[in-house]
């Protein structure tokens, strides 16, 4: 293999490129990214960057020298616009054509938007800087969507003295992800800080001066942030022959077609631990999959399914939330350490008769690691969880 192309120059794409070199690949390595920046990190955008604690110079994932050492054919500020898997070529926005022997797709996702104009989204450095410029004490921000992203932004805005209204279509924020009780506990942190949380409201439109609601009502605001989920960047793959269904569909090895792998937020793969096809938008998943895709592409004879235990963290009001494994679609939740009321606990999630996932809030590392192990080994529920309800 002499020509490898990686499309998407962020966490997953960078991890793939670095792994290829670490594993001894010496051929041409093209990294294509449509953003003008060298690979940078997104989690700080809704945290340190929005809070104006970090400037943009802290965001790059690697220093210029480290990037240079990879010997990349780096094409930044250029989108890949088409893929011909039969002739093994990536079409570029500048009209060029890049041939490949191996290809890794890491184009991530983009935020869903609402009809109407003038609302912020939060995905890129430019998004974060634009929003932060508008946050000042006394101003009113409406955040549409109380998922982790919306919640983090609301927390930062409150910390800056902004009036915040958080609008959520579900009855309880995050209930689908972490369960109702925990969702309620996490959202109480907002109420304590003076965020106005309104659940069960559907926003139909951003109006420039706020948002319009499905029930005919409206909420006025100086700024609107829409955080209602995302859509995979796969349009450019139309006609390529790859299967696209809410992401690039891959097998357990992250392979989408012969010699074509996907990694990160854009990849939908068959997770051996859960037995289902899923797509995960977590920072460590992007890195892990980038590394795994690179290894499998380079050494097909020794390839391994990607079976990492999903991991996610979030920071809100100085409260660190960490989740391991699978929480969605659980059958039961039990608090196994600490107490909900202290907002310091570990909750275990049962799927079937196993510990499928855990969520820790403000817990020491030993406790988190112990439960991570239980998830990794799919420990039997009854032996580990003494239900004390």
């Amino acid at each position: 293999m002499n020509r490898i192309v990686v499309v998407g120059a962020s966490a997953a794409g960078l991890a793939a490129a670095e792994t290829l070199r670490r594993e001894g690949y010496e051929g041409t390595l093209t990294l294509v990214g449509d953003e003008p920046h060298a690979p940078y990190d997104r989690p700080p955008l809704s945290k340190q960057v929005l809070a104006a604690e970090w400037e943009r110079d802290r965001l790059p994932l690697r220093r210029p020298g480290e990037l240079a050492a990879l010997g990349l054919d780096l094409r930044l500020g250029t989108a890949a616009t088409g893929l011909d898997t039969a002739r093994r070529r990536v079409r570029m926005a500048d009209g060029g054509d890049v041939p490949y022997d191996g290809l890794i797709l890491a184009t991530g996702v983009r935020p869903r938007r609402l009809p109407g104009g003038g609302a912020h989204v939060l995905r890129t450095l430019e998004d974060a800087l634009a929003l932060r410029e508008r946050l000042a004490p006394g101003r009113h921000l409406v955040v549409v969507g109380a998922g982790f992203l919306g919640a983090e932004a609301a927390a930062v805005a409150r910390g800056l003295g902004v009036q915040v209204t958080l609008l959520e279509p579900a009855a309880v924020p995050l209930a689908h992800a972490v369960g109702e009780e925990i969702g309620r506990v996490l959202s109480r942190a907002h109420a304590d800080r003076g965020v106005r949380l309104r659940c069960g409201v559907t926003v139909t439109e951003a109006t420039g001066g706020g948002v319009r609601l499905a029930d005919g009502g409206a909420v006025e605001a100086d700024e609107v942030l829409v955080a209602v989920g995302s859509a995979p960047n796969t349009e450019w793959l139309a006609g390529s022959g790859l299967t696209v269904a809410d992401g690039v569909v891959c097998d357990a090895y992250l392979e989408a077609a012969p010699g074509v792998y996907a990694a990160g937020d854009v990849a939908r793969w068959l997770h051996p631990l859960s037995g289902t096809s899923l797509r995960i938008e977590h920072r460590t998943n992007a890195t892990g999959q980038g590394m795994a895709a690179a290894r499998n592409l380079l050494r097909p004879e020794a390839r391994r399914p990607f079976a990492a235990v999903p991991y996610f963290w979030s920071d809100q009001y100085g409260m660190r939330i960490q989740a391991h494994g699978f929480l969605r679609g659980h059958d039961e939740v039990a608090v196994v350490e600490g107490a909900l009321d202290d907002r310091r606990f570990v909750a275990a999630y049962r799927t079937g008769d196993r510990v499928g996932g855990v969520l820790a809030v403000a817990m020491p590392p030993a406790a988190v690691q112990r439960w991570r192990q239980a998830v990794a080994h799919r420990a039997p529920w009854g032996e580990h969880v003494r239900v004390t309800v």
Partner: protein
């Protein structure tokens, strides 16, 4: 001892513990989960594990300076 030096930016660390899983001889975590460097100049046989930690750290908080 080796010539390679580990650099850890603790104010970036998000307490994921990935470095401890990858290279337990070189990294630990304090009570808040923030990574702690056990060996600034790790033994040569631990360098591969440290490279793994650099690669998996979700906060890009670890560097290995080789000279």
């Amino acid at each position: 001892m080796s010539g390679a030096e580990v650099e850890l930016e603790t104010d970036r660390c998000v307490a994921s513990g990935q470095c401890v899983v990858a290279a337990g001889q070189v990294f630990d975590q304090d009570d808040d989960g923030i990574a702690v460097l056990l060996a600034e100049r790790p033994a040569p046989e631990h360098l591969d594990d440290v490279r793994e930690a650099v690669a998996v750290c979700p906060a890009a908080a670890i560097r290995l300076l080789e000279r």
